[in-house]
Amino acid sequence: MSFDRIREKLNILADAAKYDVSCSSSGGTRKNDGKGLGDSHSSGICHTYTEDGRCVSLLKILLTNHCIYDCLFCVSRKSNDVKRAAFTVDEVVELTMNFYRRNYIEGLFLSSGIFKNADFTMERLLLVCKKLRLEQNYNGYIHLKTIPGASDELIKEAGLYADRMSINLEMPTEAGLKLLAPEKSHDDVIKPLAFVQQNIAQFAEDKKLIKHIPKFVPAGQSTQMVIGATPESDKDIMYTANAFYKNFSLKRVYYSGYVPISNDTRMPVLGTQPPLLRENRLYQTDWLMRFYGFKVQEILNDANPNLDVDIDPKLSWAIRNMQHFPIDINKADYKMILRIPGIGVMSAQKIIQARKFGKLRIDQLKKIGVAYNRAKHFITCVDSPYQLKDYQGTQIKAFILAESQSKYLKTDSNQLILF
């Protein structure tokens, strides 16, 4: 294998894989028993960040970018005129081992274009995992793409070696997907997602009875949706995400702002800025659902089908629901404190613990880490200044906007004009 050829392959196949957002390496539970290589770090480690500010934790590559499908949103689509390449199984194994040994990465993220057919592709992905685990004694992280349409046996076997498996929904709605990839449907994704989930549940059930049972996809499953390629509303997107979290116990749903790669008229033209702000708001909503006890219907509904651009969804919920505020920091329960703009999970927990020792004052809240300038409109504590006037939500929004500066305003002017 020549030096230049392997460099070229890596460039092509890493470049084609970069639109997959997931780089999480958390949730791995593999321990290095014996004298192998690697040990999972339960919270994951980001080893570096690309210049676009995204974490690099895994060696994220395609096995090949040859593909029999022609999905419009994908750089590796059949009709696209790009250089093609394919790694051999051994090349992937060697790259992974050598990068891991130098502490460059937490593990491998392996995806692939579909060549020949689903089973043929899945077999090769499985082979890489098996070589790493069985021949190289490798305990690092493996994130493997489930290839839709692959046989149950192959998927089940892969689950024994991978830490996480994922399949991308690609478009938030079936209609959107049909528009850009007529050969595909959400059902292709749902079937294997459900299959893997049933197996995870089954293994967990068996583990209760038998102690030594192999791990099966210990870090769970995830999926990804492309945002802004098709005209779905934020409500459509988040309702889909919510359903997938619920129905398939997903660990993560990723939202990937569409980076234009095609001249097709059905999608945003080349050169359009990716919708970074919108993507950010969707992630904020996702966090509110998973860590802050919000129901998706509270944030997005028929009256509010899209998220506010100028303020985050938590503040926006608070302003629409001023009847709940102000909240007394020294009395309210944890669930309500979590809902106060300017207070995060860590601060909320500290408040609950600290107030057992005495009523909290403003200076203490600031030290605990509360963003007081934001929170002050929604709380009272021991020394809150007495307020004669009841401000309207819209007034508070104006106050907060006046003293904060959005990090997106400069870079994303063309997005703001839309609204």
Binding site: D52, G53, R102, K367
Partner: protein, 254 residues
């Protein structure tokens, strides 16, 4: 009143012991390095005593859960002079109050210890992330670092568990000691760099022949993974502050 201690952890714990013996009222703890005699201020030099420090540590173990003992230790490893004083007062506060007093985040010393611990843990995590080994000709994976805080004791286990089948050395160039894993155990070592070896970048002859290949591939990968249309330098620098770039293979010009 100023208490002066030798800067060691047993010294700090002995100081707490001495305070309880004497109850001298308001005291500030300083390491001997930082102490400057003042004309009208009283001072007391703490003589480190392992019996006394062991008793204080045992007392802390009864009062604090593991998580907080670790925070205590991490704050100490920060080597920040104000942290020593906060730890001193934190310990007194813990002994003078009932179980659970460490969760009083309204208390300045509790908050301070929790903050120092967080900084140290963050640095520890950064070392776990940003260290890059170079494979040397004699088969050892080597890296030299100069972390903000003394984190080697905290990262030792992580690297031992992870790289169990390869010899490695992590050397703290600032504090002049390092860890060497010899396939069985991790040992503390000191290296004499005076004979002209560049400790940060061992010269090419000392490196394994494949080292160049993989560092080039890694740099290539780093470039390929970037999406130019999403360039966000501010975010990039926030995640990887510039002072860490010297560690990162992918940030070196080839």
């Amino acid at each position: 009143m100023t208490y002066i201690f030798d800067g060691s952890l047993p010294g700090l714990l002995t100081a707490v012991f001495e305070w309880f013996e004497r109850k001298p009222g308001k005291v500030e703890l300083k390491s001997v390095e930082m102490f400057q005699p003042e004309a009208f201020a009283e001072s007391f030099t703490v003589i480190t005593n392992s019996e006394k420090s062991d008793r204080v540590w045992a007392g802390l173990q009864k009062k604090l859960k593991k998580e907080w003992l670790r925070k205590f230790y991490c704050s100490y490893l920060s080597e920040i002079h104000e942290a020593y004083n906060h730890l001193f007062h934190f310990t007194i506060y813990i002994f003078q109050n009932g179980i659970g007093a460490e969760t009083n985040y309204g208390n300045d010393h509790v908050m301070a210890v929790s903050k120092y611990a967080r900084s140290v843990e963050r640095e520890k995590h950064r070392m776990e992330a940003f260290i890059r080994f170079q494979h040397t000709a004699d088969g050892i994976f080597y890296t030299g670092i100069d972390p903000d805080f003394n984190v080697l004791p905290l990262i030792s286990n992580h690297f031992k568990n992870r790289y169990a089948d390869q010899q490695w050395i992590i050397y703290d160039l600032k504090r002049k000691y390092g860890l060497h894993y010899n396939l069985n155990s991790v040992e503390e070592i000191t290296i004499d760099f005076t004979n002209g070896v560049n400790s940060k970048n061992p010269e090419a002859i000392l490196l394994d022949e494949k080292e160049e290949l993989y560092s080039v591939l890694w740099k290539d990968y780093f470039k390929s993974a970037n999406i130019v249309a999403r360039k966000n330098t501010k975010l990039h620098v926030r995640h990887v502050p510039k002072r860490y770039w010297k560690y990162l293979t992918e940030k070196q010009l080839s």
